[in-house]
Symmetry: C2
Subunit: 190 residues, 2 copies
């Protein structure tokens, strides 16, 4: 088959897949996990039930695929934020702030969270995230903007945990203060 045709099929598949993910998450958010069926998802997505089963075996796998895409988008965003920043110190601040905002904006959908947060893809994403933060910290340490007497790896664990507090914060300004305090912990001793 010509290359163009393959690309068209690929684009079509991606569109069906994306539509299925969006529909499913919206249905689960509205009606709860237990009451959403594959037939309902197919109908709402506007595809046949048999077609849907060619993409996904069950509702759970759709939700995990959605979460995988969601997490990948966050990682991409953080990488972009880092690349856009000026000095290593600015990069660190921008990335930590972006991460805190992600934590702050997380949907508090516990049923969904319990399901998707046990997937293997998450372990991989967490390692990726940890590596990204570690590298940004290491660069800032080399530039003298972060203490270099503690391994960047340990400092990354500290940052990720500390910024997890953003999930329970009431406002954007509280998130800003949390990032400030977390960054202060990283500064070289005077």
């Amino acid at each position: 088959m010509p290359k163009l045709w393959n690309e068209t099929i690929e684009a079509h598949r991606r569109a069906v897949r994306d539509a299925t993910l969006e529909t499913t998450v919206a249905l689960v958010a509205e009606h709860g996990l237990a009451s959403v069926t594959m037939s309902q998802i197919a109908k709402e997505t506007g595809i046949g039930r048999a077609t849907l089963y060619k993409y996904f075996p069950d509702v759970e796998s759709i939700l995990i695929a959605w979460h995988e895409r969601h997490v990948a988008a966050h990682l991409e965003h953080l990488t972009h934020v880092r690349d856009e920043a000026g000095t290593p110190g600015e990069g660190l601040e921008a990335v930590l702030y972006a991460y805190a905002r992600i934590m702050h904006g997380r949907r508090q959908h516990t049923e969904l969270a319990a399901l998707v947060h046990r997937g293997e893809h998450l372990t991989h994403a967490q390692q990726h995230l940890h590596g990204l933060i570690r590298d940004v910290i290491a660069e800032a340490a080399t530039a003298g903007e972060v203490r270099d007497d503690i391994a960047a790896d340990e400092l990354a664990g500290y940052c990720l945990h500390a910024l997890g507090a953003a999930g329970g914060l009431p406002s954007e300004s509280a998130v800003g203060r949390l990032v400030d305090v977390t960054l202060a912990g990283l500064r070289p001793a005077p």
Copy 2:
């Protein structure tokens, strides 16, 4: 009944209860949650099955009672650590270090953790813990040893999350460094 007799009964009940909790946790740790039965627990504790049912309706409730006692002991320990310390700044450091050590020493028993960490008692204990840390921070802020431009409540959330990183650390000295970094985040701006 005379007071002494009541006290004897009370002490006996507590002893049976404590023995049951210890036996159950040991059995679950050894054989897994699914394979431990009430009969087994009664036999290993050295009490009758009917007696056991007077104390607890099922295995799950025993584990939750155990965890409640476990968490209460941690809170008591932290309160004691705070009371023993000298200045507010020393109190803060001692309490944060004690908490980080608790996080570091937690059993990595995921099956058990998933069961006991959803109890209502935990929400209560977390509020208690948050309040304890908040008060220690507020005292240290009044003494000028902690920044006072951010509410102690927010700083407590930061500390508890940051020190959660202790769970994944490989050594006591790494835990000490984590406490150092977390404390550095709290210091007043120079």
